[in-house]
Amino acid sequence: MSGGAGTPVSEQAGLPREGEHGALSAGKAVSFSPKALARFEKLLTRYPTKQAALLPTLWIAQEELGWISREAVDYVASLLGLSPAFVWGVTTFYTMYNRAPVGKHLIQFCTSISCHLAGAEEVFAECRKRLGDLKPGETTADGRFTVIEVECLAQCDKAPAVMVNDDDCAIITKENLEQFLGGLK
């Protein structure tokens, strides 16, 4: 997908752009609720080191706070005794940690080979059009929907596959897209 020779660098697909890599600020200090903290404490008992508990702790942070903000990274780092840089490095390695606020329904379109052959790109484009000409990664003004493109969801038998938050939704086509989105409202 990389641009050929002559493509301006800034337009090459997949390249980082200015401001894309720094952790966004939530604008306020964040912390876990007592319930989440209890989950975190229980989690620690299952791992040999605190560092080993980083991924599940980030999951708790994402569930608690919706996304991984700069403050969330600092908070998780302090909980686990790790450097904030290390936590941020891990966060950026994994695509399923949200690095910006997302809508109530995070609609993840698979566009890998099977879904691509089944027309996923068109469904993805159509979905974005219906939600008000969203670009990939954008959220609707009402904060209900975010649409992104993801790699294989391991549902090739049900292509084109979509995942909404943590749930799989099989065979989303242009025809049933309206019904699919309606079901999320």
Binding site: G3, A5, Q12, R17, H21, R70, P84, A85, G89, T92
Partner: protein
Amino acid sequence: MVKVTVDGTAVEVPDNANALEACRAAGVDVPHFCYHPRFSIVGQCRMCMVEIDGAPKVQASCTVPVRGGMVIRASSEKALAARNATMEFLLINHPLDCPICDQAGECQLQDNAVAGGLPVSRTSEPRRQFPGYDRTDIGPHVIADMTRCIQCTRCIRFCNEIAGTGELTFIERGGHTMVWTHEGHQLDNEWSACAADVCPVGALTTKEFRFRKRVWWLKKTASVCPGCEIGCNISIEHREQVVHRFLPRVNLGVNDFWMCDHGRFLAESLNGRDFLKPVVPDDFLKASEPDGRGRRETNWGEALGLVHEKLTAAKPAAVLAIGSANLSTEENWLLAELFGKTVGTPNVEFDADQGPLRRIRNPKAIGADGGFLKGTVAAPNARGAEAAGVRKASGESALGRLLTGSLVPDVLYVADAAFSARTADPAFVAKLRKAKFLVVHARTRSALTDVADVVLPVSGLTGKDGSFLNVQGRVQRFDVAFVPPPIVKTDLEVLLHLGQRFGVFETRWTTADVFGKLAATVPAYGGLAWDAPAVVGLPPSVSPAASYDVLRPPRTSVDDTDKLPAAAGKA
């Protein structure tokens, strides 16, 4: 110790060595980027590929622990092919713009590409770039340019394992991987510039040295850091009488491979010279100058003659000589001999500033506390001055009495105008000025030189040699970086010339001669020779990223490698 064979050469290495270290011990050059003797092994760069008998594929030699009888073929066709392939991969995305890169000349990637890479590039695709992340400050001293990064993680491991601060990390992954900090945090620790040192390419460079001088123009002089009493071994890197940077010089017993930012960026302070000739008072000018301190430049004969005359006329008890923890032990010793024994004053003292705590990571060093060697005195030779017979000033000592006003010396001889940071304080200087006759050695102008009667122009650290006694009690030599301008003398020469007027020193004495006399009388120097390896230390390394190369034996010559396949037998 285990015995291994590298390209037909049998070599004995420690049990915990790896195959790369065995190759290096055998004098065989295996190119590498991510390996560093003080960092954990990550096998990140894949450059150090070698063939090992019994292993089905080529191995990254740094990741393979040695075992007895291991046969390593570092120069076989297969190994060279693998290394060339790795090199080609690394160069797919590395910009080929060495002429505008500041690392050129001491770049491991450049060296290895020249030594063993393909002569042509087979790629025509645009190279990966990081718009918005090139040439960016990531800390107070370090600039990052991610297009040049080869992801060796040395800087990350330096921050994690040596500094212990962990500011750096990889962010993103795959082809987008880059070294960065977490938003809101900087690469800001006591040794941050060492992260740029260990960088094998031009991805991390220091702001202070970047684009100041092409490294191949720099001359390297073995010296000792003037920043604190730890006495990190350094290389003064200079050209045409201008100091451009300090680099750490390897000393496993002191600073290991590191130096702190405070010391490193003192380099600039060695530049600048305000006095080219001795300055003496002038009666005619005194009458016309509004502050009554008219002075003129003169020659050494007149200046030293005047100092000699004032010293002979003064009552010995009313002479105060101030040595310095910035001066070498030799100079302090001459001062103590001349003033203590010949002039006969009991008042030969020095004062050194208590500085902020400086630390250098070296868990194996004698005196290391919590893995760090620590220094609290903000000058390199407080111990040497004391050992040489110059007493530490106190409230009751002559300097203390001068400051309280209870002693007014006839002659105050300050052998280092910058012996304390307080010499920049007008109130402090005014107290010193109470002396009837004030002589200072100085390189640059200061509040103290402005009021001195006689200013004797001296070279500073770059123009002289000598030795410091560090916090561990280790005698460390520093060498002459460049000869000062013609009339300027070293502190040692000034004292020798003055001593000659008293008939006790000879001007032909070299620093080595004085060192010899010192070693005969000062216990801390007992039995040491000017040329002893422990005193001289290691030579400066060619490249900061491979500073550890000074520790390895000479390389195998090309003639030897030609015979290799026949010589290497099965273990």
